[in-house]
Amino acid sequence: MSTTTPGKPYESHLLRPGNTNCAGCGMSIGLQWLDEALGDEKPVLAIPSCCGIVTAGAFPTSGYGVPTAATTFASSPAVATGISAVSAMNDIDNPVICWAGDGGTYDIGLATLSAAAERNEDIIYICYDNEIYGNTGGQRSGATPVGAVTSTTPAGKGERKKDIMAIMAAHRIPYAATLSIGHREDFLRKVRYARSVKGFRFLLMLSPCPTGWKSEPDQSTELIEIAVRSGLFPLYEIFDGCRYRINQRPDSTSIEPYLKQQRRFSQVWNNTDALQAFIDAQWQYLDGMATVFPAKDR
């Protein structure tokens, strides 16, 4: 996988070569596209205890080419609030970005996240969602999909994935959107739009973890493409928490190859009913919202 960001000299990369990401980690693409979308702008990062901070490597080196605060697990939105507040009072316009996994977002950090969203802090919050506690070896989180085997759900998770987008929309934040590492233009456009808006912005990126998903590292991008096309991971945007735009509808792509290429789904290879029911319910909800509360045409 390339570790260069087009148009940027090596030393100014947001994600530097030599970072400790595993091969096929969704973060590697996500961070480079984030860098590309921001262009010459230098963000400040607040990253909680998660794989995203392991990315930086060990002191005194840093895999990040921008100032980065490694926060306690639940605290990245609170720490980012402090940074953003001081930036504002000193007329500094560099974006403050939280880069957090699903554990720090859906679970332990949810109260902190909710409060920062409710205060409409001037923060871009990006959740790279690998649907497990990846850093600790792959335990179940509130983001783990139904049926997935994790190290704490050896027979497959019995419960559905939490709808974090609906939770964030309920805060009526200016912008929330999903990001796919299989859809570059869509990804870049959404980050740039998020950057152009003030207030709390939430971006959710489904982030393959070959180690935890038991998938092949070279299949990561393809997996996300299938997740989008099959309807499992919808691409959409929510403006002010109440106006919906669906970016891509599912086509006839089957969910099957997505599941078959990940051994975490081995328990449901022969019975996809629960997962299909999740997808159907998800689209019923999204279609309803987009019909009743459509975003205005750009």
Binding site: P60, T68, V79, G82, V86, S114
Partner: protein, 390 residues
């Protein structure tokens, strides 16, 4: 503002606000704030203050209150907050983080019993729980001591030789909610006394680095050693700050500890916070009757002033400690520190008294009874539990 009648919470809120405002020509100030009895009035005061360059962020928990302080300090601002009891317990993870990040936040701890069972009255167990966090800790016995110590705290915390956060503690209700006459600072005075807050290791785009990332044992050991070395500098920095305080305000606040009548004392009683003031009236009374007794008010708990304490104990043969806190399975926390300090004085009879736990009203009669017990002792025992009910 001059001499006025104010509650402890009012004194703390006013002094924190002026200290924050004093940084308006530098990178400003920021507080994360969350209510809990009995400190709530402090954050209410801060929320109502009209900062020229500052913000009070009204967060959803104590954990985030300290998180905001961490972020703002990482961005170079002067930071402060207040909490009590279970709020401090909830904040603990980020309290440790602020110390290890070496961020000079000042936090008021209005001492309150940890629950359950729920009890809003004073007990020092909450802030003493942070014994092993890399924070300095001061314990104040009066409203004036509180005001003065908060200003000293910013000066010491932000000194580059120290660069560590500070807890300034006062007694819940006894200090926080009662009024005393106090010389309150003016903005001009605070502007003169406090230099701009400079945090050398703040986040900078010129030097992008990951702050608080991974280290191995070697770097971690160096990090802890550097904190210890700074703790050892703190007493000297505190003395310099007191000198400067005296230059600006014309009075000299107490330093690491205060000793009364210890010079020729056979017996010395040690206490902190308002209990030390009650103790002072008892000592004065007994001295007047010719008893060779003295007292020490411990004000600085971290770093623990071992040398100063040994010097103040002098040739005394008996030392009694009054602890309004309890470490289950051991005893009083001040007693443990003093026992470690007295390791080179095996001749001293050291006795711990657990008294006033959960806010029990420690009266002069209670303290007289403790001293009577001490006077007839020939050996020390396990910590004694003393009932304060009458």
């Amino acid at each position: 503002m001059g001499r006025t009648l104010a509650t402890g919470n009012n004194v703390a809120g006013h002094t924190l606000a002026l200290a924050g405002e004093a940084n308006r020509n530098a990178r400003g100030c920021c507080a994360g704030a969350y209510p809990i009895t009995p400190q709530t009035e402090i954050i209410e005061f801060l929320s109502g203050f009209d900062f020229n360059k500052g913000r009070v962020v009204l967060v959803e928990s104590e954990h985030s209150a300290m998180g905001v302080c961490i972020g703002a300090a990482l961005a170079g601002a002067r930071t402060f907050t207040a909490s009590s009891s279970n709020g401090l317990a909830y904040m603990t993870e980020n309290i440790f983080a602020a110390g290890y990040y070496r961020l000079p936040t000042v936090m008021i701890a209005v001492n309150r019993t940890l629950g359950p069972p729920w009890n809003i009255w004073v007990d020092q167990g909450d802030s003493l729980m942070m014994r092993d966090a890399a924070w300095l800790q001061f314990y104040c016995d009066s409203h004036q001591d509180l005001a003065d110590t908060i200003l000293l705290a910013f000066r010491v915390a932000e000194d580059k030789r120290v660069m560590l956060p500070v807890i300034v503690a006062m007694d819940g209700f006894i200090t926080s909610h009662t009024q005393m006459v106090v010389d309150m600072f003016t903005q001009e005075q605070v502007d003169t006394f406090l230099p701009p807050c400079v945090i050398p290791h703040r986040l900078k785009h010129e030097h992008p680095s990951t702050f608080g990332g991974m280290t191995f044992s070697n770097e971690t050991e160096h990090h802890r050693f550097a904190i210890q070395a700074s703790m050892e500098q703190a007493l000297m920095v505190l003395e310099e700050a007191r000198d400067e305080f005296e230059n600006v305000f014309g009075r000299r606040p107490a330093g690491a500890l205060e000793a009364f009548d210890t010079g020729d004392a056979d017996t010395i009683v040690i206490a902190c916070n308002t209990m030390a003031r009650t103790l002072h009236t008892v000592i004065t009374e007994r001295r007047a009757k010719g008893e060779k007794i003295g007292m020490i008010r411990t004000k600085l708990f971290r770093p623990f002033p071992r040398k100063e304490l040994l010097a103040a104990i002098g040739k005394a043969s008996k030392v009694a400690v009054l602890d309004r806190n309890h470490s289950p399975g051991s005893g009083g926390i001040f007693w443990l520190e003093i026992a470690a300090t007295l390791k080179e004085r095996p001749d001293v009879l050291l006795q711990d008294y657990l008294v006033g736990l959960g806010g029990g009203d420690v009266t002069p009669e209670n303290i007289h009874a403790i001293i009577d017990d001490m006077n007839q002792r020939t050996t020390a025992s396990e910590p004694e539990w003393k009932d304060t009910s009458t």
